[in-house]
């Protein structure tokens, strides 16, 4: 049978999370979409029961049209060598909130701090939500879709135009080609 391993994993998980939607993306890659309040329970079971010991990453996607943030938790199982991506959606606000899982995985702190400064999602209950990489940053969270990088850069930094005579022929030729 194709995807035997993946299906056996889903069969283990599905009874405990009946409304979660499991999909097999490809070999060894399982996606699960669930409501955000189930995530913590899911993470606990992942670590303690199903032996997914490694949290590879937490990533965030800004869905501007839906006014939602999508958080994706990547869990890895060393024995079965399967990656499970748990996807949840939370409302998109000026400062969105979600619960931390840093008490389960220490490295989650770094991912959460990173998401906080890049997207403005605050993780309640984490010990340390200080700035991580953008320590000298004063603007809005830069990875949000409504943050216009070019506009910000041109307003904030001094910019020097470079338009010498010798380049004009080449630019015109290039534009004519388009």
């Amino acid at each position: 049978m194709e995807y035997e391993l993946e299906n056996s994993i889903i069969d283990k998980m599905q009874p405990e999370f009946p409304e979660a939607a499991f999909t097999i993306k490809k070999a060894r890659r399982v996606e699960v979409k669930m409501s955000s309040d189930k995530l913590y329970n899911f993470a606990v079971r992942m670590q303690k029961k199903w032996n997914f010991l490694h949290l590879s990453a937490i990533s965030c996607v800004d869905w501007l049209q839906d006014n939602e943030f999508e958080l994706i938790y990547h869990f890895w199982n060393y024995d079965e060598k399967v990656l499970v991506m748990a996807k949840i959606r939370i409302p998109r606000e000026e400062e969105s909130h979600f619960e931390t899982i840093s008490n389960l995985w220490q490295p989650a702190k770094f991912f959460e701090r990173d998401i906080h400064e890049m997207f403005g999602v605050y993780f309640d209950g984490s010990e340390d939500m200080e700035r991580f990489i953008l320590t000298e940053w004063h603007g809005p969270p830069p990875m949000r879709k409504d943050f216009i990088t070019r506009e910000y850069a041109l307003n904030f930094f001094h910019y020097r135009e470079y338009d010498p005579e010798w380049l004009k022929d080449m630019t015109a030729a290039g534009e004519a080609n388009e």
Binding site: W137, H138, G139, T149, R160
Partner: protein, 191 residues
């Protein structure tokens, strides 16, 4: 300028002659262009032929080589490093990122024009410049020092308000510097 040149004292001429052949370079390798420095320093192109050698601390260095883009975060460190260096000191902007942002021209976190924050002695164009270009620009710098024209470091003392305003605007507030630039300017007799 001409007039000033003729007014150079004999001592200054001698010191320029000597210092042009003994330049210590602090390379601040932030950008990708830094990868061109190892061949420049080592046997292949061997910049020690020109008396230029890498130095690890700012206080003993003469050249501050900025290789590529600087994010606002590193720019702050560069300004502090620059202020620690002993005059005369020469900033060399390396690569198009230091000239007008290069391919990061619309990035939210990298500065675009280095000369808004530090007085740049010479730029090396290119993305990234070949070791030949680096050596050519060092030769230019050496010739400039010999002629007594490499004086952009004085500009930092003269126009400190301009540089300081740009720095403060970018860092959104004054930075904690350990050098009293105004007092240094008085010491060098620069107004």
């Amino acid at each position: 300028m001409e007039e000033k040149l003729t007014q150079r004292s004999v001592w200054e001429k001698i010191s320029n002659k000597l210092s042009k052949r003994s330049l210590w370079m602090l390379h601040y390798c932030t950008g990708c262009g830094a990868i061109e420095l190892p061949p420049t320093m080592t046997a292949r192109f061997d910049m020690e032929r020109f008396g230029i050698s890498p130095m690890v601390t700012p206080r003993q260095a003469d050249i501050l080589l900025i290789t590529g883009y600087l994010s606002v975060k590193t720019l702050k460190r560069v300004v502090l490093t620059y202020e620690q260096m002993q005059a005369p000191k020469y900033v060399v902007g390396f690569g198009s990122c230091t000239i007008n942002g290069g391919m990061y021209w619309n990035s939210y976190s990298t500065m675009k024009c280095l000369d808004q924050y530090l007085p740049v002695e010479t730029y090396i164009a290119g993305c990234m410049p070949r070791p030949e270009a680096i050596i050519a620009s060092f030769n230019d710098l050496i010739a400039k020092i010999d002629r007594g024209e490499a004086n952009s470091w004085k500009d930092y003392y003269k126009n400190y308000d301009f540089y300081k305003a740009n720095q403060d605007r970018t860092f959104e507030g004054p930075i904690e510097t350990y050098n009293d630039i105004k007092a240094d300017a008085a010491m060098f007799n620069i107004k």
